[in-house]
Symmetry: C2
Subunit: 242 residues, 2 copies
């Protein structure tokens, strides 16, 4: 009972580019204003975070920043250590290595902790490969599901692809998933083998990069065209209508 | 066999703000560059589309624009009529009324037609209420599903909420849905009645507006706090861990 509690800082969630050279496609004026108002950042990797801040228009000398490297966080260790400034009333930024923190990327644990402490969370507009792929696919965006990585085991993966195809029909829902880029070709071949020829498949590669490439065709049509996907970040989307 | 085919135009997908006064939060420099390079737009409503173009930095006199009002499109009518310029080699922009075209909004049919004609589709970065809500929820973003609107019938809606709660546990997947804003309070009460007290519920309201409000708590905690949601655009997110 020591009078009014000290006001807490706000946690700003800062999306970052998906590709090199995509600054003008990625940063809003509000992103730039926000980072210039912050001194403390919680990031997935310090080196790239500093690069993103510079590319996004940070004017503050980098030596004046306090950077918490969340990528070095140990499992089981409390995240409370990153919240000293927020609890003292200072606003703080959160960044991951690509796209939106916490979306197919680390960060959700920190945001959850913020909520548990009554800290206001402010999500900024920015790049997100799933939404950009979905919008560009022409497949339904009225209902959709993102499943992250599929199983690595070949039999399990094939089974999972068939399950997702069935779910897409049952719920009229576009199904999105991804793979580590050096296994994309195998995943593509698995989809072609496992899915019905009428199933729609969209592949969205290198989003926001100069080499961006997005194409939607039926599985039957894809059988005649083998795309070059090796080591390119891709989102795969499938939908089978009835 | 009349020599090289004429090169086709590109279809640019242009997200627009979710809230009034959110220009600086919403438009990237590339958005502004892109609209200044286009003369033809396919839009959900002409009046608001012209307003967005102005707010986003269009320099071209509006009288020089060709605007197709896709919102007036009749069911069953071919969308081919909107593709005259694209087929003649001119780049064209596509916009909806809020957020990303084709994502919980009209537009997917046009994008699908573009793919069928071999027209390149370029999705720009911009506001999306689902991704911003997910990022800010602190709930898992490794796997998530957006279901659009739930059934209006009370018994069916309650059943659907319970199904989504089960799916969230089974797939470790955050479940997102929405409601027409004047029914938000009823939906909130239905969630509170239908879900387990340990289920996490995030409500993300008025995203990118001055009145933005986002909060995640357990259903048990929400029972003690009734939020003011009436007529405010909201995304609801649930996740039950085991």
């Amino acid at each position: 009972m020591s009078g009014n509690p000290k006001p807490l800082g706000k946690l700003y969630l800062l999306p970052v580019p998906l590709a090199a050279g995509a600054e003008e496609k990625s940063f809003t004026p509000f992103w730039t204003q926000t980072v210039n108002h912050l001194k403390t950042f919680i990031v997935e990797q310090e080196k790239t975070a500093r690069k993103f801040l510079k590319e996004g228009g940070l004017k503050t000398p980098q030596a004046e920043l306090k950077i918490y490297d969340y990528g070095k966080h140990q499992r089981g260790q409390s995240v409370a250590t990153y919240f000293k400034e927020l609890k003292a009333g200072e606003d703080v930024g959160l960044m991951s290595e690509a796209g939106c923190p916490g979306v197919a990327d680390p960060g959700a644990e920190l945001v959850a902790y913020a909520h548990s402490q009554g800290i206001q969370v402010i999500p900024l507009v920015g790049p997100n490969s799933m939404i950009q792929a979905l919008m560009a696919s022409g497949l339904t965006g009225q209902s959709f599901a993102f499943h992250g990585y599929l199983p690595i085991d070949k039999a399990e993966r094939s089974k999972r692809i068939k399950e997702l195809e069935q779910m897409s029909t049952r719920y009229k829902q576009t199904q999105l998933f991804m793979e580590t880029p050096f296994r994309n070709t195998q995943l593509f071949e698995e989809i072609i083998r496992s899915c019905h020829p009428q199933t729609h498949l969209c592949i969205a590669c290198d989003l926001n990069a100069e080499t961006e490439w997005i194409k939607t065709m039926s599985v039957g049509q894809w059988k005649k065209e083998k795309p070059e996907l090796h080591k390119r970040p891709c989102i795969f989307l499938i939908l089978k209508n009835n």
